[in-house]
């Protein structure tokens, strides 16, 4: 298994500002994923972040709004830019190890006022 931590665990932000969420894995991994979980909803994949390449975004998500960095095999960041109240969600990172099961971080609960 993998131990994944996220920072911050929660934040309250003003509209129009940006927040960067950090995801740290305790081992080297190739693939990392970023999800959004809106209140009462399931997880929606934002993008896949592989080290050494540009992040791949899912339909409905764009790099200008959700820039992602993947500087090494244990770390990734997701920035939520120019926030609006609709961005209030839980943001989760996850990774794959040797199989197809994903290991998730604890999530970052974002509230935008």
């Amino acid at each position: 298994s993998a131990v994944i931590s996220q920072k911050p665990s929660r934040d309250i932000c003003q509209r129009g500002t940006s927040l960067t969420i950090q995801c740290q894995v305790d081992s080297q991994v190739t693939m990392m994923f970023w999800y959004r979980q809106q209140p009462g909803q399931s997880l929606t994949l934002i993008a896949t972040a592989n080290q050494g390449s540009e992040a791949t975004y899912e339909s409905g998500f764009v790099i200008d709004k959700f820039p992602i960095s993947r500087p090494n095999l244990t770390f990734s960041t997701l920035t939520v830019s120019n926030m609006s109240p609709e961005d209030s969600s839980i943001y989760l990172c996850s990774t794959l190890l040797s199989g197809w099961e994903q290991f998730f971080g604890p999530g970052t609960r974002l509230t935008v006022l």
């Binding site: 994944i4 693939m31 994923f33 909803q41 399931s42 997880l43 929606t44 994949l45 896949t48 989760l92 996850s94 794959l96 199989g99 197809w100 099961e101 994903q102 290991f103 998730f104 971080g105 604890p106 999530g107 609960r109």
Partner: protein, 113 residues
């Protein structure tokens, strides 16, 4: 696009009984299907993976079935305990075979003592 349907209503059962949760999908048949558990304020935790050529998978008190003809998976918890109370998410892989998952909305299980 793939759609996943899980019972949106909470499932309430008595301790000791078997809980059965349903996951239906509408489009392509996935190569594998996964079940996750999510507790409030936490990221999902992987429980079981079942492949398209497997009818049934067991792990301790958990059992998953996969019927590609019906496009359905059933998730059973036998001898349920109050500690099993959580939201259970069904997830399917995508044709890209990159590890990306599509999640259902989840079913909340409440086991009463």
């Amino acid at each position: 696009s793939q759609k996943i349907e899980q019972n949106s209503e909470a499932l309430n059962i008595q301790e000791g009984k078997t809980a059965t949760l349903t996951c239906n999908y509408t489009n392509y048949s996935p190569a594998y299907l996964q079940w996750y558990r999510q507790d409030p304020g936490r990221g999902p935790v992987f429980l079981l993976l079942i492949r398209e050529n497997e009818k049934e998978k067991r792990k301790e008190r958990l059992k998953v079935t996969f019927d590609t003809t019906l496009k359905q998976s059933l998730f059973h918890i036998t001898a349920s305990q109050p500690a099993d109370s959580a939201t259970y998410l069904c997830a399917l892989d995508t044709p890209s075979n990159t590890g990306k998952l599509i999640f259902g909305q989840g079913t909340t299980l409440q086991v009463k003592p």
